[in-house]
């Protein structure tokens, strides 16, 4: 537990020192939200209906930048090898990195919500529920994302490989998060929010468990 907290502290410190990068990734996400509206046209009803999908696609695209960046730094000066020499398990390093990535993505997601509200007139009064969906969704993105970023950071063509591996895997996250966010924005007369949130939670549990189990093999060999 101490090793995990230390790893988490290290990753939060890294993110704080590279905070300019986070702002740039947020700007990227906001720009994608602006661009998506051009695909639909100035039809405010259609834009509002698709707002949840745009928000999550923007966040998914931004997540590949954020996840890749989290391991780029560990590759400089062979920092990762230094970390592995410490008396801490690879699992603690993984969970530290994944929690930090999840927090960063959730922050970017929460910051993108006002952009969505302004551009698509897609607000909700259930802000806490929306925040819960964003946290669950980004947890589902960051667990496999951190595992794959650890691999792809060490390969050629890393910018291509991370999304290629991650996108098909997180289809359930995208489906469930878009549906849940849509229900919050457009209304939920059938009370379907809970099953979709449960699906997000189940996906996150499976991926966080698998990530912790397999990360050691990814970085140690």
């Amino acid at each position: 537990m101490t090793a995990f907290l230390t790893a988490l502290q290290k990753d939060f410190l890294l993110q704080w020192r590279g905070r300019g990068q986070i702002v740039a990734i947020f700007a990227f996400g906001a720009a994608t939200l602006l661009l998506f509206s051009f695909a639909i046209g100035p039809d405010s009803v259609a834009l509002r209906q698709h707002a949840a999908g745009f928000l999550w696609l923007g966040l998914l695209l931004a997540s590949t930048l954020s996840l890749a960046e989290s391991f780029e730094r560990e590759m400089e000066e062979q920092a990762l090898e230094g970390l592995l020499l410490l008396p801490a398990s690879a699992r603690a390093l993984y969970y530290g990195k994944a929690v930090a990535n999840c927090a960063q993505l959730a922050m970017i997601g929460a910051a993108l919500v006002p952009v969505m509200v302004v551009l698509y007139d897609a607000g909700t009064i259930r802000l806490l529920s929306l925040l819960g969906v964003i946290v669950l969704g980004t947890a589902g993105l960051s667990a496999p994302g951190t595992l794959y970023a650890a691999m792809t950071a060490q390969t050629r063509a890393r910018q291509t490989l991370l999304p290629l591996l991650l996108f098909p895997l997180v289809v359930p996250v995208l489906l469930a998060a878009v549906k849940a966010t849509s229900l919050l924005i457009l209304g939920d007369p059938m009370e379907q929010l809970r099953p979709w949130a449960s699906l997000l939670g189940a996906f996150a549990v499976v991926q966080w468990a698998l990530g912790g189990l397999l990360f050691g093999r990814v970085v140690e060999d």
Binding site: P144, L147, Y148, M151, T152, Q154, T155, R156, A157, T160, L161, L164, L165, F167, P168, L169, V171, P172, L175, A176, K179, P195, W196, L199, A202, F203, V206, Q207, L210, G211, L214, R217, V218, D221
Partner: protein, 240 residues
Amino acid sequence: MAAASQGPLPKGLVAVGAVLLCIGSYWGLAQAPGEIFMGDVQRIMYVHVPTAWNAMLALTFAFVCAVFFLFTNSWKWDNRLEAAMEMGVVLSLLLCTQGAIWAKPTWGVWWDWDPRLTTTAVMVFAFGGILALRAFVDDPMKRAVWSAVACIVAFADVPIVYFSVKWWNSLHQAQSTPATVSKAFHWPLRINAFGILFLWAGLVALRTRVAALRLRSEIAPPLPAPSARGTDARASGSAW
């Protein structure tokens, strides 16, 4: 399959598989009665359903190879993983293509967002991505471990993708099992299922051998070339 890849058995399996596939397809196309509602369009079922079963089987075999590799660190499981994953992706692609050919006259569209269709497409991209990862990693050990890890993660994802899409939208007809299919259709279906099974098992054995030969050339010490071959334990004949 370890012994099979070294002898004539793989080619025998391919030959038996091809013959069975020809017999089953002839039976299905010319002998079996047409379906009442769909007519001749239904006859694609004789390759489509066996392809679906075998695609799932090939990817399950890839998953088993990945687990065994992570436990044993034996190269032969990595070679089989590479072969089985390629076969699974090819069969899944064939499955999507056959499905689209059947869907156009039946549903009126090439594609529909039905759970099994969407899950198969996601599997093609997920496992295809892992094949791309293999192509971009030069270190054989890293390549083997990473693709085994990615294969396990992707395989665990398949049921979640299936159920999430099922909740999202559903149109596909019920799964075809012997209980849901008329007895007149059983034999061509069974023969084709075994035909494709033998075919892919033989091809996977041959492909495993190619992967083992490539691995041997990659990890063999460069000098002196003729005498050093096979001195590395992991590069010896046991590689497949």
